[in-house]
């Protein structure tokens, strides 16, 4: 969405225009769901968190001072709601890394790899995990990630590189792969 279009929609939404707000929701839904998924590792909960985020945003949009930062503001709300939801549910990771330990002499198939990588990503620090989802799930550019997270493109690059390094390090520890970065 063009920035000016977005600002106009945010302005209209701040005056109570539900349709304008719905259009913003449509635009941001995949991104906000990805952020929520990064915290919750559960698709249904992530979608609930995204919808809850939009409800809180709609309720409080009159408090938003800078319309340009709407996306980043949504992300902050989403983080808070996701953290709340994560705390209230029983913690159960999808795949425990220990359970996926790979021995050097075992044949590892593609599904196992993906499960191990998923488990490793689940254990990344929140900010790195968010960057990973925005880049690899939403396929956002560095510029777009930078706008959504409210950080510089260099910081986006740094987070992605650190995340990848950590993933590789942990995969190497599981003796499953070697990657040159």
């Amino acid at each position: 969405m063009k920035t000016n279009d977005e600002i106009n929609l945010v302005r209209a939404a701040s005056k109570g225009n539900v349709d304008s707000f719905s259009r913003l929701c449509e635009c941001y839904y995949p991104t906000i769901t990805a952020i929520a998924y990064a915290h919750l590792s559960d698709r249904d909960m992530a979608e609930d968190a995204a919808q809850e985020t939009f409800f809180v945003a709609f309720r409080d949009i009159s408090k938003l001072k800078s319309f340009e930062r709407f996306g980043n503001w949504l992300v902050v709300i989403c983080r808070n709601i996701s953290s709340d939801m994560a705390r209230t549910r029983k913690r159960e990771s999808i795949v425990r890394l220990e359970d996926c330990e790979i021995h050097s002499n075992e044949k590892v198939n593609q599904d196992n790899y993906d499960e191990v990588v998923r488990a490793v990503i689940t254990k990344l620090p929140d900010k790195l995990r968010e960057a990973i989802f925005l880049k690899f799930y939403n396929k956002l550019s560095y510029q777009e990630i930078s706008n959504v997270l409210g950080i510089s493109q260099e910081a986006v690059n740094g987070r992605l590189r650190r995340a990848k390094k950590l993933i590789v390090k942990k995969l190497c520890r599981a003796d499953s792969v070697e990657v040159d970065l």
Binding site: R43, F58, S104, P125, I151, S152, G158, K164, L166
Partner: protein, 338 residues
Amino acid sequence: MKNKKDEKWLDDTISRAVDFGKVKFDAEQWKKKYILNESVKHTTIRPHKNLWRFIMENKVTKYSAAAVITLAFILVLFNPFGGSKYGSVVLAEVAQKMEDIQMIVHKEQRDYYELGEDEPFLKTDVIKHCCQKLGVIEEQYTTEGELMHKVYVLGESREFIAMLPESKKYFKMPLREGMARVIDRLTPRGLLEHFMAIEHTKLGYSQIDGHEVEGFEAVDMEIWPIPEALSFLFPVKQITWQFWIDVESLLPVQAEYEVITGRGLLTGMKELKIECKAYDLEFYQEADEKLFEPDIPDDYTEFKLTDLISTEAKAGIVGLGILPAGFIILRRQKRNKP
């Protein structure tokens, strides 16, 4: 299994791993559920009225916790276990530049959040004096300018002293061997060296107060080596640092750090987020020794854990039969303002 793979393979693998399927926003359903149906219960949004709130709404408890958190911060920020192994040329030059500086005075905004909350439960302003030889003094104020605590971490006498004006209490603790080693790192350079010891990334250039600055960021991936004796009190899970260095003077202009904690006794068994911004840094080549001589007023009495419990609560504890480590606050205390 050992395979030599390229980065594209890693990107593809990550893409597969994070793919939880396409999602699509259903505006009509959302409006029906959240906007039109006023009776809907949003179960994930609810007030957090709990023991933590009771603790943090009690001024004595809140201020005392904040003072001890300060000690934990000092131990964490100047942890003695780090070594320099990732030092970049720029940061090494900055550390060199700071070699001759004896004291830094700076202000700090420090806000405490319960993790997941929008609003901080405590917003504070801090003035801090850090001296290479004499130690650290920190004064923490409420946003209304009320002094919450004054803390001394003294280098020569190896002592931690916290004064709490609200309750007219003071707290003294000798810094034992392991903790005393921290004092040796209580230098501006020590802080930078710690930063250099963890993997960091460049944030690029920016402008702060008319200075052209270069930023550096680091995220601590592992739990910090807080001394064992303190980890149950204040378990730090992650700290994200940002340093902004003036490209001309090679001195820090601003530092920001965000601390995420686990559940500890001093966090009220809650996860906390603490956001800090250090700014207005002033550098001195000499330190005023008189500043580092604590003057505890005569009417102050020594702080004990039982001070955290109200009189009414003390009376009720026996009946309730619970006393979790002296941190029970059963009744909110309100101070009558004139």
